[in-house]
Symmetry: C2
Subunit: 389 residues, 2 copies
């Protein structure tokens, strides 16, 4: 029984969140925390329409399963559908899936799973038709913390499904690892399907999260246009998940209201953020080939992060949990900024390459003593990867 495994990274926003809504550039980067999707196709039993499609959401402890016959009723037999031409989920299909999922026993505190299951069903049936198979999804990423967990879900799942469908051809594994990548045009296809999944989960996603998760490295985006950046040296960051839930829509609206109350000041603030994103984009592409150059690069990054954080505070999207992390890391002379929507969520702390491990450990322990959770990550690495088995 052949298996298809794909992993797709989460993302952070290095610069420009919120301001991007008002026309500024922003920079997103992949992190080495992954969502893994593995897929096994099952032989269709002799009776036509028998077998089931199962998804095991390992992190939640929940497994869902639908008889293929039932799926065929909802979606029709899509086998051989236009795998190479991703299309959005229609509102009829959305409604049918909602009905299908009503019959599932989703715990009340995990009701948000319904959107993810809809995306799963849509991607699965669109790419593989209603044939039996079993998917297992698990993730290193905290869910709903602004680290792109839903995009990593859609990307890794699309990657595994498209490989299983033979629509994309995985490359040989990188030396020393079991993981290989895909050709650029294959990644484009994965990205387009993943974007359809994101739309089911989020309504109106920007497309940044799935692009970073698919292509990796870093992406500058401005007014809907994406530019892939080649990040030359990996940067290490400590990500703190404050575990404070936030309302992204309300935060975005709050910034817009502030901008309408103080148009002159806020226009300058947006323009300052834009300059920071542009500067940061050019810095990450600089190759630094010795300790001095790396340290200089890190210092510039740290300064830009500190400046961006001040501007985010100016926009009113900080939170006392974020301030606690800032204050704690400042004690150790480390620079932090919120990442994503703010109002809780996650905070980035740059880890300079020359920082003694003991300081990093002390900082982490102190941050975690507040009930937060820390992750050490490398920033700007690989996007979607694949292996068999």
């Amino acid at each position: 029984m052949e298996g298809f495994r794909a992993r797709a990274p989460g993302k952070i926003i290095l610069a420009g969140e919120h301001a991007v809504v008002h026309g500024s550039a922003a920079v997103a980067a992949a992190i080495d925390l992954y969502t893994h999707s593995s897929l096994h196709l099952l032989p269709a039993s002799e009776e036509d329409g028998a077998g089931a499609v199962e998804v095991d959401l390992r992190d939640t402890g929940l497994v869902f399963s639908w008889p293929c016959a039932r799926l065929r009723e909802v979606f029709g037999d899509r086998a051989g559908a236009a795998v190479n031409a991703p299309r959005p989920c229609s509102s009829n299909e959305l409604a049918s899936m909602a009905k299908l999922l009503e019959q599932e026993d989703i715990p009340e505190d995990k009701i948000w799973l319904a959107a993810g299951l809809s995306a799963f069903l849509y991607l699965y049936t669109s790419i593989l038709g209603c044939r039996p198979g079993k998917a297992v999804v698990k993730s290193d990423l905290p869910l709903g913390a602004g680290l792109g967990s839903s995009a990593a879900f859609s990307v890794s799942l699309s990657g595994a499904l498209l490989a299983a469908a033979g629509a994309v051809r995985p490359q040989a594994a990188d030396a020393g690892t079991e993981w290989g990548s895909f050709h650029k045009e294959d990644l484009e296809l994965v990205n387009q399907w993943a974007f359809q999944g994101e739309k089911i989960i989020h309504g109106k996603p920007s497309g940044i999260d799935n692009a970073v998760s698919t292509f990796g490295s870093m992406i500058k985006f401005k007014k809907g246009e994406f530019t892939n950046l080649k990040s030359s040296n990996p940067v290490k960051m400590l990500i703190t998940d404050t575990r404070v839930g936030r309302n992204t829509k309300a935060l975005v609206a709050g910034v817009s209201e502030r901008a309408s109350r103080h148009p002159d000041a806020m226009a300058s603030v947006i323009s300052a953020v834009n300059s920071i994103s542009e500067e940061l984009s050019s810095i990450v592409e600089l190759a630094a080939d010795d300790e001095v150059a790396i340290t200089a690069k890190e210092e510039k990054l740290a300064e830009l992060m500190e400046m961006n954080q001040g501007l985010l505070q100016c926009m009113g999207v900080s939170h006392c949990a974020i301030e606690t992390v800032l204050r704690t890391t400042l004690k150790y002379n480390l620079v932090s900024k919120l990442t994503g929507a703010g109002g809780g969520g996650c905070v980035l702390t740059l880890i300079p390459s020359l920082l003694p491990n003991s300081v990093l450990e002390k900082t982490t322990t102190e941050i975690e003593s507040h009930g937060f959770r820390c992750f050490q990550v490398k920033v700007g690495g690989r996007g979607l990867q694949f292996c068999r088995g």
Copy 2:
């Protein structure tokens, strides 16, 4: 024995510190923490040149005294000098005073007193000549915390000296108080003398501190020009003195260096601060005549303070002691910003008029538990005032 008492307020910077160095507008305001100077002229004894000039610096527990004859050797007999035409202290005079003060027993940890004593001697002898007298100075203001204690010293002293010399005519006391003010032209004279004192203490003062201390209310300043603002409703603030000493020159230089490293971003930041100062200036002049209007005005002020603080953090002049205060007040939904140079020093917290006293007390207790010291002040009140006795 006739007595002359003057009190002059300290100041805070409501908006625009640091950015003002780069061409932005800034707003300073008087606070109701005063430095009091009282002066008693003593009858010259029969022998010519007998008697002494004494200054009792009550807050330091130190008293200094110089025989009039000795002062006459240093300054010549200035009696009847041009009291109405303040002139700067010459470098010769500065050197002579330094020599005179070398003979004093100034404790090593209070060596900064020498500059204040020079200012005292210069103002006293310039305005009153070398006639015997006794001055007592005491202050509500923490020294060297950025609240304008040296300007309040120079202004209150100049006020008392000029009144004693008959060069300014105090007005009748305000109803219900013992304190009266001076006519505008008299205040101008006091301000000019106080500026000479400030120059002795600071080298190159901007003149803002003495202007606010003299004229009270609020002053907008931009590129060397001052505009007096009429503040319509007093605002209450909590001032936290973090007691963290700071190096203003290094902080100012740090901002300039950041501006040269990131010229585009920093130009936008300065421009954002300028918009905030201009907006704040127009808001403080709005009369608010009911609770709703006052609350609306306070909310606008709070938002502008929050924005300005973010921009100060962006300039890199915050400090972990400041962050501690911010984080503490944020817990109580109160907005704070650093005031003055940053890097320690003082933090302002707006106290909304409808804030329950219990919340204010709790906030204060929690701030002071970190070893900081809080003052409740009214902002934008009277400048120099005078009474006899």
